[in-house]
């Protein structure tokens, strides 16, 4: 199977994570922000798989399963929140929904 330096896999995960992070900071649309969060979660999962593959153990994969579970729950709640925000404000602009300022 694959034989490659460990850094390549980890750096790929880092780059994907950074991309998702950049998108999260730049985008103002709530749906896009949620997509960016998904990208970041996926990148974190990739890092786990790479690390697990380094030692040939199943633990990394198990962590990825947990991340998947969490992502599913998070998306369900997040999308429900987005829906109710949209119904209340008729917009998906995260900056408009800023009543919770101190």
């Amino acid at each position: 199977m694959l034989t490659a330096p460990l850094e390549y896999g980890l750096f790929l995960a880092a780059m994907l994570f950074t991309m998702g992070f950049l998108g999260l900071l730049v985008r103002r649309n709530l749906i896009f922000m949620l997509i960016c969060v998904e990208v970041m979660l996926n990148a974190a999962g990739l890092a786990f798989i790479v690390a697990g593959a380094r030692w040939g153990q199943p633990d990394g994969q198990i962590m990825m399963i947990f991340i998947l579970t969490m992502a599913a729950a998070e998306v369900a709640v997040g999308l429900a929140l987005i829906l109710s925000i949209y119904r209340r404000t008729k917009t998906l602009d995260a900056d408009v929904v800023s009543q919770m300022h101190g």
Binding site: L25, R28, A94, V97, Q99, M100, G102
Partner: protein, 621 residues
């Protein structure tokens, strides 16, 4: 007798039921709960009283104890009730008159939304008052003392939507608080001097002290202060007239019959200490006499029927204090007991009148009510006869006469007290019948459409008969010489020794007081016999009397205002600046940090990211 604890616990149970479930119970049921427990307590009190009186010679006192309340070092007060002649008298008055007033309230408060709250407070009051009088030690007494103060506050401010009622409630609470401080200090001092708080033991130990030494005088002064506050005597009497803001049954129960006489009870209970401090005894008598005259003269000019009764209450308690001051403990308690009956009657009668005339309280707007509400008039008249001490048939006559006689004969007494007491009797007759004539005679100024129902009239009738009969348990030597009342109290309080005098002088005293009552009544008839058309204009003197000798504004000018300016003066303080600086720093950070909470999710994410990067950096470096 071992059910003694149940007497205070029954009203407490009613209070708990009403306080916890009052809102959910239907009005009728909470009324029944409010009354029934008090009634049961009253029946139990009668049974225990009969048991107690039959065995008075063999067991002059009985103590029920639930064991130690708490223990701190070698101080372990008990939670115990002590029954003797004195506390039994108080218990009977509280439960029986209390029950009648509760019964009256069911009709009086029937239309009130908050009737369950009313009965909850009243029951809590009954519990506190019973704890106060049955208390075996000073600490439990203090518990009851504060409890009745709290209930008084709650009930004066019962109709809390009117801010004036809240003001009156606070005034009463704060004024009586001055007295309560006296009681607390006295308790501490008693414990320091005797090492116990059990009243019986304290009195036994105190019996061995030298008369007039510093500590006993200090204790007596502090107890006197407590009594002055609770019983509305000079100079703390200012709260009672304003306390009339509460519902009328409250005024009858708390501010006439029971709570305000707690001071009298306290002094009678600790009479041994007062006997050892002759100076304080004299002070008690002088304060009582002065209060009696000041309050009586204020009652002469009042327009609000309840304020007349309030000033009259202060004045009558003045009589009791005069009796206490001359060492006539029995006479004071006798007057307490007759006063409780007829003053409860008068307040309830006033309540019935007030409901009849659309909640007006100004006597000059009533008038001519004699034919309209005879069911109220006749009992009310009986109460007034008693208050004015009309001779031979009324209870007020016997008790007042006993006080004057004792003031005359006691070794602590003085002829001046007797003269003042006679003047007081004259004034009492005037203001009492002025009230009766203005209210019931002459032209009717207000239409009556809400006549009192059978419950109100029934309660008034019972109290009316009571106010006549109550006096015959103790009569002067020249009039049958019945001594049931003083026999009952003989093991609790022993009067100061009396000078040997010829009993025939009693006739002279009674003759003079009768003459004065007749004169006062006649004067009132001349002036107000045909009723009163309009409220009189006020001369400066009248205004002075109307305001209760201007004590309120004097306190405002000479105590409250200087105190307030003093507080303002010391409010400017360098050390305070230090604390203000702390506040300012917190304020500054609040300003800065609350800017970070701008509500933009992206900014939060940025913050989180920055923190994460920092942490990772710290890990790898």
């Amino acid at each position: 007798m071992n059910l003694l604890w149940l007497i205070p616990v029954l009203p407490l149970t009613a209070f708990l039921i009403l306080a916890l479930f009052g809102r959910r119970l239907p009005k009728a049921l909470s009324t029944v709960v409010g009354c029934a427990f008090m009634g049961a307590s009253g029946i139990l009190a009668i049974i225990i009283a009969l048991q107690f009186l039959l065995n008075l010679e063999t067991t002059p006192s009985y103590t029920w104890s639930s064991g130690t309340w708490f223990t701190v070092g070698d101080f372990s007060p008990e939670f115990a009730f002590h029954l003797d002649g004195l506390s039994m008298l108080m218990t009977l008055v509280i439960t029986l008159i209390g029950f009648l007033i509760f019964l009256f309230s069911t009709a009086y408060m029937a239309t009130d939304e908050d009737i369950s709250r009313f009965f909850a407070y009243m029951n809590l009051f009954a519990f506190s008052m019973l704890t106060l009088v049955l208390a075996d030690n000073f600490l439990l007494l203090l518990l009851g003392w504060e409890g009745v103060g709290l209930c008084s506050y709650l009930l004066i401010g019962f109709w809390y939507t009117n801010p004036e009622n809240g003001y009156a409630a606070r005034k009463a609470f704060i004024t009586t608080r001055i007295g309560a401080v006296g009681l607390i200090l006295a308790t501490v001092l008693v414990f320091r001097a005797t090492g116990t708080l059990n009243i019986e033991e304290v009195l036994l130990i105190a019996g061995n002290w030298v008369s007039g030494n510093a500590i006993v005088t200090a204790i007596a002064v502090l107890l006197l202060l407590a009594a002055l506050g609770k019983s509305a005597q000079l100079p703390l009497q200012v709260w009672l007239p304003d306390a009339m803001a509460g519902p009328t049954p409250t005024s009858a129960l708390i501010h006439a019959a029971t709570m305000v006489t707690a001071g009298v009870y306290l002094i009678a209970r600790t009479h041994v200490i007062f006997e050892l401090a002759p100076m304080v005894m004299t002070a008690v008598a002088i304060i009582g006499t002065a209060t009696m005259l000041i309050a009586g003269s204020s009652a002469l000019i009042q327009r609000d029927i309840k304020r007349v009764l309030a000033y009259s209450t202060i004045s009558q308690i003045g009589y009791m204090f005069m009796a206490l001051g001359v060492g006539a403990w029995t006479a004071a308690m006798f007057h307490f007991y007759t006063h409780a009956v007829f003053k409860a009657l008068l307040f309830l009668g006033a309540g019935a009148i007030i409901t009849a005339v659309h909640h007006k309280q100004d006597m000059f707007e009533m008038g001519g009510l004699r034919k309209v509400i005879p069911g109220v008039f006749y009992p009310f008249l009986l109460g007034c006869l008693s208050l004015a001490a009309v001779p031979f048939i009324t209870s007020g006559f016997y008790s007042k006469d006993l006080i004057l006689w004792k003031a005359y004969t006691s070794t602590e007494g003085n002829i001046l007290f007797v003269v003042a007491g006679l003047v007081g009797a004259f004034i009492t007759a005037i203001y009492t019948f002025r009230m009766v004539f203005i209210t019931f005679n002459g032209k009717q100024h207000t239409e009556v459409d809400h006549k009192p129902g059978p419950i109100m009239v029934g309660v008034l009738a019972i109290l009316g008969i009571g106010s006549v009969l109550a006096g015959f348990v103790e009569t002067p030597h020249v009039l049958g010489s019945i001594h049931l009342f003083s026999d009952m109290l003989q093991y609790s309080v022993q009067d100061v020794t009396m000078n040997k005098v010829d009993y025939s002088q009693e006739w002279v005293l009674m003759g003079i007081s009768t003459l004065l009552v007749v004169a006062g009544t006649g004067y009132a008839w001349m002036k107000y016999g045909k009723g009163a058309e309009a409220a009189p204009t006020m001369s400066p003197l009248n205004r002075f009397l109307y305001n209760g000798w201007d004590f309120d504004s004097a306190y405002q000018h000479f105590i409250l205002n200087p105190y307030a300016s003093f507080c303002r003066a010391i409010g400017i303080d360098i050390i305070d600046l230090l604390y203000k600086l702390v506040g300012l720093i917190a304020r500054f950070f609040n300003l800065v940090l609350s800017r970070a909470q701008d509500g933009f999710v992206r900014h939060y994410a940025l913050g989180i990211a920055f923190g994460t990067i920092l942490v990772i950096y710290l890990f790898i470096s």
